[in-house]
């Protein structure tokens, strides 16, 4: 009797394993060979962004332009890009004071003389369009994904609004659109960059602090920029493969 139970478990295990393997095989049957997928010129690009902290003047133009261009709702917390102001007491660098009134959409308030000894700067933030993005990995229905040109996008018609991705993003770049109750985020202005325009935020940036870059284009100035500047990404310890490269990012920025 014992012997039979063991056998039964062995057989059942094989069947279950086979089911999984068959599913995988089936995927290939359905999809066809890779080279039969329609060719898409997106493979000629690999989009990212550079942000120069030393150039950002905190005007909030990027936040406003993003809302206009992408119809981002006005509700609290719905931002595809926002600007934070850091104030760091040199005596206590571990506890920076950060303010971002309404994401900086109306700029920032001057703060009194107490800042004389403080180190202050602005940090524009946005989706980092990570290569190994935690947010796409957790989506149960394939509603968020990497485009072939390196942009993390959302398929609103498939999104269930389960919010896993909102939680998974270490940079807080996603929100739930209160009108549709689906996840939403920066698309790197996919509708613009695929037509040869730059992103709305980079378009209106008065000082050129933000630059859309194509890492696959050998002529893009980004290669020179990355080589000649001290580049950093946000939360490198998360190994997300962020493609938003900051110049002059202070270590206290989270």
């Amino acid at each position: 009797m014992n012997q039979d139970r063991r056998e039964f478990l062995k057989d059942a295990g094989t069947y279950i394993l086979l089911t999984g393997a068959a599913t995988v095989a089936w995927e290939y049957v359905v999809r066809g060979a890779a080279e039969q997928a329609p060719n898409y010129s997106a493979t000629a690009h690999w989009w990212g962004m550079t942000i120069d902290i030393d150039k950002c003047i905190g005007s909030g133009n990027c936040v406003r332009a993003c809302k206009e261009e992408n119809d981002v709702p006005d509700q609290d917390g719905c931002f595809r890009t926002w600007v934070e102001r850091y104030r760091i007491d040199p005596e206590d660098p571990d506890h920076p004071l950060v303010d971002s009134p309404d994401g900086g959409i109306d700029g920032f308030e001057p703060i009194g003389a107490a800042n004389g000894t403080m180190k202050t700067f602005f940090v524009p933030k946005m989706c980092n369009h990570c290569v190994d993005s935690p947010c796409t990995q957790v989506c149960p229905v394939g509603a968020t994904f990497h485009s072939p040109d390196g942009v993390v996008l959302i398929d609103k018609s498939r999104c269930l609004g389960c919010r896993y991705c909102v939680q998974a993003c270490p940079y807080g770049c996603r929100y739930i659109d209160p009108r549709t109750l689906t996840a939403d985020k920066c698309t790197l202005c996919y509708h613009r960059i695929t037509k040869g325009l730059t992103t709305a935020c980079a378009e209106v940036c008065p000082t050129g602090a933000r630059q859309l870059v194509d890492l696959k284009n050998p002529k893009d100035p980004v290669h020179e920029f990355i080589r000649t500047h001290k580049i950093h990404v946000l939360k490198p310890q998360m190994a997300t493969g962020s493609k938003v490269y900051y110049n002059g990012l202070d270590g206290s920025v989270r």
Binding site: T19, Y40, D54, S59, R85, R87, P110, S147, K195, T207
Partner: protein, 175 residues
């Protein structure tokens, strides 16, 4: 020998259980495939674990900011000194580098105007007021020293910035 046959029959009877379980699993798998093919859009998985058409959806959004290059054909010379276009001011008196607003894109101040590019006769919202200038020029903690900054109360009080500065060429006259 008979004893042995009985054992064999026993074996066979037991393996029936496995076959039944297998049949149930197979049925489940087939049901899964059917459900899956019904639930998934046909273009799912062409490029990866997502709907290929989602790329076109993302591309389909209308553009709001036309970009500076779109303004040039009709509004070229906006940043020149008044008179430079007609020849009243010699070109060498008007080097672009003297105009530090040359770096600004039109729509940074004028707002999204792609609709205007397609239809120039449509009215364009007026912009201006001191808040526009102060948004980039008010003295502010965090603003780098490279940015020209003023304290409004000391600089101009309640006067309009455009009384002394042209928005497209802000250096005050005579400098």
């Amino acid at each position: 020998m008979p004893c042995n046959t009985a054992r064999m029959r026993d074996r066979f009877r037991h393996s029936q259980h496995v076959l039944r379980v297998g049949a149930v699993l197979l049925l489940g798998f087939v049901a899964f495939l059917v459900l899956r093919s019904v639930a998934l859009p046909s273009d799912f998985g062409v490029y990866g674990f997502y709907r290929a058409g989602a790329l076109d959806d993302a591309k389909a959004r209308p553009i709001a900011y036309a970009g500076r290059a779109a303004c040039e054909p009709c509004h070229g010379g906006t940043y020149d000194l008044p008179g430079a276009q007609t020849g009243a001011v010699p070109a060498e008196a008007d080097p672009v580098k003297d105009n530090r607003h040359f770096v600004l894109r039109c729509e940074t101040c004028h707002g999204p105007l792609a609709s205007h590019v397609g239809n120039p006769s449509a009215p364009v919202a007026t912009v201006g007021g001191n808040q526009l200038c102060l948004g980039c020029h008010a003295q502010l903690a965090g603003r780098p020293d490279t940015q020209p900054q003023i304290l409004r109360v000391d600089h101009s009080g309640d006067d309009a910035c455009v009384d002394c500065h042209r928005p497209h060429r802000p250096r005050p006259d005579g400098q």
